[in-house]
Symmetry: C2
Subunit: 340 residues, 2 copies
Amino acid sequence: MSATIFPAASFAELRARLNDLPSTDVRSIAAARVRQDNLTKPQGALGRLEELAIFMAGWQGCERPVLKRAQAVVFAGNHGICRQGVNPFPQEVTAQMVANFRRGGAAINQLCRISGADLSIIPLDLDLPTHDFTEDYAMTELEVLDAMARGAASVDTNCDIILLGEMGIGNSTVASAQARALFGGTAWDWVGPGTGADAEKIAIKARVIEAGIDRHKQVIDNPFVILAAFGGREQAAICGAILAARMARIPVLLDGFICTAAASILAPLGIGALDHCLVGHSSAEPGHRMLLSAIGKKAILDLGMRLGEGSGAAIALGIVRAALAAHEGMATFAEAGISV
Amino acid sequence: MSATIFPAASFAELRARLNDLPSTDVRSIAAARVRQDNLTKPQGALGRLEELAIFMAGWQGCERPVLKRAQAVVFAGNHGICRQGVNPFPQEVTAQMVANFRRGGAAINQLCRISGADLSIIPLDLDLPTHDFTEDYAMTELEVLDAMARGAASVDTNCDIILLGEMGIGNSTVASAQARALFGGTAWDWVGPGTGADAEKIAIKARVIEAGIDRHKQVIDNPFVILAAFGGREQAAICGAILAARMARIPVLLDGFICTAAASILAPLGIGALDHCLVGHSSAEPGHRMLLSAIGKKAILDLGMRLGEGSGAAIALGIVRAALAAHEGMATFAEAGISV
């Protein structure tokens, strides 16, 4: 399916292919809503669970959606901006954490096991960090398109839902820069501690983001160019995976601040490119709330987490499972013979 | 274990037995915190999950707590206050929903299956509603103590966690009356739609609660007497189950507004009787937030649910499972050979 979008030779070619994205199925939504209203509970009493069941019905195109297979994809990348001292961890940690994912020792391994998701780890040229965005475009157009295509290719189109996550030392600075470029404000509105930056490092983050905005301000009227200017390969891959999932009408569960900032590149295109995306959790990273507001999404969970790796998406998958289990398994008032 | 508290012949005898409740194990808490700080993530990055793992460690008395068996107990009762027209559903629905629980057709059945909890349904004299609290005590002292003892006896002390829930047409009015009596304000601060009361029915709720407060105002300086004045058997049973779990150092997951209001009877005793209790979710019922604030608890989830039956506790169990899976399964920085 993703072959209809990728590979693309230019941003213009990619953009032209996005004008007719598949949309949700209104008949299945209507049927699922009728079912919810007849199940043995006061109407609306399952709150967000009812909305999630109806959302899944719309994208799967059936009254009773299923979750037989869930795939979590974690993209990893390295970032030239690290040379500005934005992160307390050395850049080797990205590859070390990829090794930890592969050995099963990270949070995301445990959380995928608990929530029943298969985990794919996709490191993207970790030995080739992007350029320092205060000095140049972080990536060329072709590098962006290549990473997007690799993201798209990582999606298993036999899945019922895709969870997206990321790992990359320095990428909370990248995310804040993207949000600043896409939605305005000042860098201070979007920076936060990330993996644990202190006040001094947060000030460095804000300074390098404003320097980056100043460097690129003439050219960032196009979201894909913002991705080239500031993004990393994992951000581009997330965009590619979201589009590939959409072509296959597979719902997507985004993770926290960095993942949402990557996805937000697709928001200003004005084509509803994130309509099939849920946001798993509201991150403790302070910019996430404003980012969710900017793209009109409400996170499922708010557990004070700020880890990345897809961890919030993996936990939220359990809530989607609960929603579908109630939708599928509950008796109707008529079946249960209850007085209404 | 609960034999040390129940049966009790009077509220005074019960109260005297509660002076030396088991407490959390500070060594296990310290050990669990050290472990969390060494796992492969920035310190604190798992937010509430870290707190939950440490909480469970304290009550289970071990660095790495487990969840082999979870028991959900749903108590059902009927309420004399229904004759005042506080609920849009007829009172027979309580027994019909108990039958639905037993056939596996309710939300709680699906949610317990998903979260791996065994479900116990305990109907309490459904053919003997309590008295109308605007005219008399809802229950006698002995009826309260009997229901508490039955609640305590329903706890399987081989469990690693107990989830509590309730069903009873009219019991959101009972919960609001309890909250009003325990924590003040006016009835209007504590009433809400419950199973779906319209504005007219909500006004009836507020009026009957103020009438009840007026009827009992001379005697409600004792929380157990508040339970007798307004409560139903399911509220008393929830209190008994909480105390029985505490004697066995088993953590408790409370559900929403009605379950929390029942548990709140134990809060003003000043003995930390709810220290082993978590609250699964913040209900859409408007009084729940104020109630959580009054007892100093922060709910795990906020999904706009207002169903009862233990449904919010069952979903929150999945979050506790995720917390323990991360705590148990993650590698430390040293094990993973990561640069810190």
